[in-house]
Amino acid sequence: MNEKLHYTQIAVIVYMIQSGVILFALPRIVAEAFGTNGWLGLFPLSAVALANIVFIILVYKKGNGQSVFTILEQSFPKWLCYPIYLFMIVSFSLLAVLVAKNYIILIQNAMFPEVSANSFLILFLITALFFLSKGIYNMGKITLLFFFMTIWTIFLLFLLFPEFSFTRLTPFIFKGQIDPFEKGFEAYTAFLGFELVLFLFPYVQNDGKFGKAVIAGHLFTTFIYVSVCFVAMGFYSFEQVKGILYPMQNLLKFMETPLIERIENIVFVIFFIKIIVTVTFYYWGALQATKRIFIKTKEKWLMLIIVGSTFFSSLFFEIKREVDELLNVIAILQTIFSFSFPLLLLLLLWLQKAKAKRGNKIA
């Protein structure tokens, strides 16, 4: 049976990889980056990511859906590919473990201050490993289920409508102390994750909807981010939102129902399901590169080694600040990678085509 990833799955995968724990902090970040009505600043950021996505889709179209590794290996000798693979393995798997650790530290601080974060991290990584072991097609299906299990949280925003006021949004756009580069970049990292679709090429249904699906997923993420920031900025005043580390978490604290209140921790925990998708897909990306280097080793062992070694390397970063700093560095590398790698591939494809043409002429 020829199993392939359906385009709805692709869209959901893109959304689920992109959106993560940063959602809780995003209103503050955009306020710091763009000032008043900072939620509007998400649109140009989303456009930048969209441009990057268009490159990726071009690679898919020009390369007729062949795997990026094949494109690379057709032009470069193996020894030249290995450093690129190594970079992918290290940056993807480190990003995965750090995203996990970042989330775990938040959970541990909020709920279990007396327990070591690493024991939680082990549980997290075991789940990720289990997830990863199911193979890409099942991962697609699981992601779709997890999407259904988490998407309802967005409707919690409706509970805040009575408190929402347009006057708090202020009539000014992008005023106040702004930092569009450093903080703007931090907000941009919220969109990262789409670059992983580069590795999905051989597994997608060839029905021409791949590009639309990726864009749809990205636009959905943008929609969620914008609506969350919009609501948060109409709920808090500008100065207030800048002063709260996780404005969304505070918002959730405010909600009350007769049976349950202060659901911020619970919703925070439900984000586990989103984070696990992000983490697992980054590990999967790293695994794809690893498989190119160690062709004969069994996949099971490669997974164990990747997840295990990243766990041990994460032990060097115990405080949230350290994790954040490193995450920032990797995010920069990742952004550079996600722009330059598709461009490199496009160049290679162009060269290959030119060579083939010349070959035809000579023949």
Binding site: H6, M111, F120, L123, L259, I260
Partner: protein, 499 residues
């Protein structure tokens, strides 16, 4: 994968091991031999229930198992004519009555074992089916009750079960493949499907899986299901089992295959989806809005069974803050005298409930009621008064137990209950994080399950919105226009198979 193991074994057997069998069985005559009276009596040596009658006048020998035949039928159709006939009339009688002749020893042996009477005359062997052992009458199902709808349920006799299905599907397209399982017991299995609706590849696959089973005996269809499923170590049933011919009919017309096993009152159908297990024939007999509401209630029941006690444990242990003040006071009062941590308290009560359930199921109905009273009133009330548990916990445990019985399928309800224990333990150590972790792990597992190579969680993931009309909701009949995607049928449109 269990069946895969056999696949390999049976392949290697075929390659190198075809002729060794004959040498091993030197005692019994080779099975392709001409059937003779001596050979047959030798095969059935020391079978005390074998009857052997000799009519010296006409030189006829009759052999049958008295335990397998219908006495009346044997007397009227075989023994009486034989005793009245003259020597010359015998040949004529055999022809007229259409009594079949056996060509091999194996054939006559198998026929005698399936309830035929073997007739030896003139160095030839004939057989005539007079099968008719005592069977239980058709009765209501004890485990699957239907309120509005047909009440008849399957019995242990496969012919009766087949007749219950044939009565409902009067079509020449209803095909029944007969197979045998069990190396010793040779139990009959029928694989039923509707030709032109069921996917022929799936029928082939299922037939192959049943054929390669190598066990001494298959005791029940539920065991058969475990022998042919893809993940034998999973907690969840991958084939839908039912005692109701009505359900079987609906499975057949939707393009699924149904297996019946002799001596088992349960039919299994494949491929199965997780959501089939929250469906009951009642849903289809009610008006659609009512059917839908009941089905949604069952979905909520699964959720309550899985999480209610676990959430109690998590909230009491770690997350007091989520409770509103008034509720918190009530809870705190009820727990004030309890000396155990919430996890122990919950596990104690859950295990007690499980004990009660198991005891109730094993005891005769009349004593079973007593167990209910002892358990419900005595233990429940006394445990609270003695200060061993809190009132609120009793409510949580009881509601999740009740919710677990709402599920129409016994096998699935058991699986869900086991998962609940996992969640309670995780909640005791990790709070809500544990519950979500547990749900995540179970979800990953359940999504990757397959039933006959089709996804188990279809149509939620992979997503087929058309099939949702008969999943969580029971859509109106005008909206149910297509057969489920899972069946892979090419004949997707319902109501278009006129003959």
């Amino acid at each position: 994968m269990y069946y895969k193991k056999w696949e390999k074994v049976s392949q290697s057997d075929n390659e190198n091991n075809d002729h060794t069998n004959d040498e091993a069985q030197t005692d019994t005559p080779p099975e392709n031999e001409e059937p003779s009276l001596e050979a047959v009596t030798k095969i059935f040596d020391q079978c005390a229930d074998l009857d052997h009658k000799t009519y010296s006048e006409t030189e006829i020998d009759v052999i049958y198992f008295s335990s397998l035949i219908d006495d009346q039928k044997l007397e009227n159709e075989i023994l009486k004519p034989i005793s009245e006939l003259q020597h010359s009339e015998i040949e004529n009688w055999i022809n007229r009555k259409d009594i079949s002749e056996a060509t091999t020893l194996k054939e006559i042996k198998d026929e005698v074992l399936s309830g035929s009477v073997a007739i030896f005359y003139n160095d030839k062997a004939y057989y005539y089916n007079v099968y008719g052992p005592e069977i239980r009458g058709i009765d209501k199902s004890e485990t699957e009750t239907v309120i509005v709808g047909a009440h008849d349920a399957f019995v242990e006799d496969i012919t009766t079960n087949l007749s219950l299905i044939r009565r409902r599907v009067k079509s020449d397209k209803l095909k029944a493949i007969k197979l045998k399982v069990g190396e010793i017991t040779k139990t009959d299995v029928y694989l039923l499907y509707i030709d032109g609706v069921a996917d022929s590849e799936m029928v082939k696959e299922l037939k192959k899986r049943i054929e390669i089973i190598e066990v001494d005996s298959v005791y029940d269809t539920n065991m058969l299901a475990q022998l042919i499923d893809e993940a034998p170590d999973s907690l969840f049933p991958q084939y839908y089992n039912t005692e109701l011919p009505d359900v079987v009919r609906s499975k057949l017309v939707s393009g699924k295959m149904v297996m019946l096993l002799d001596t088992s009152p349960i039919a299994i159908s494949a491929p199965a989806s997780f959501f089939e297990f929250i469906q009951s024939p009642d849903d289809y007999n009610q008006r659609w809005l009512i059917g839908t509401s009941i089905r949604l209630l069952r979905a909520i029941a699964i959720f309550i069974t899985l999480t209610f006690t676990a959430v109690y444990v998590a909230v009491i242990t770690f997350h007091y803050e989520v409770l509103p003040e008034d509720l918190l006071i009530t809870l705190a009062e009820s727990r004030a005298r309890v000396p155990f941590p919430p996890l122990i308290e919950a596990l104690l009560m859950e295990i007690t409930i499980e004990l009660l359930r198991e005891a109730g199921a094993r005891l005769p109905t009349k004593i079973g009621q007593t167990i209910g009273i002892v358990g419900g009133i005595v233990i429940g009330q006394a445990a609270v008064e003695a200060g061993l548990t809190s009132n609120v916990l009793i409510i949580a445990v009881a509601s999740s137990a009740i919710a677990s019985f709402v599920l129409p399928n016994y096998n699935m309800s058991n699986s869900i209950r086991i998962v609940r224990f996992l969640l309670i333990i995780l909640a005791g150590y990790l709070g809500v994080f544990g519950i979500i972790l547990g749900i995540g792990l179970v979800s990953i597992h359940i999504v990757s399950l397959t039933s006959l190579k089709t996804p188990y969680l279809i149509p939620v993931t992979p997503f087929y919105w058309r099939d949702w009309v008969d999943t969580f909701i029971r859509g109106p009949y005008w909206a149910m226009k297509r057969r489920p995607t899972q069946t892979k049928t090419s004949n997707t449109e319902l109501n278009k198979m006129k003959q």
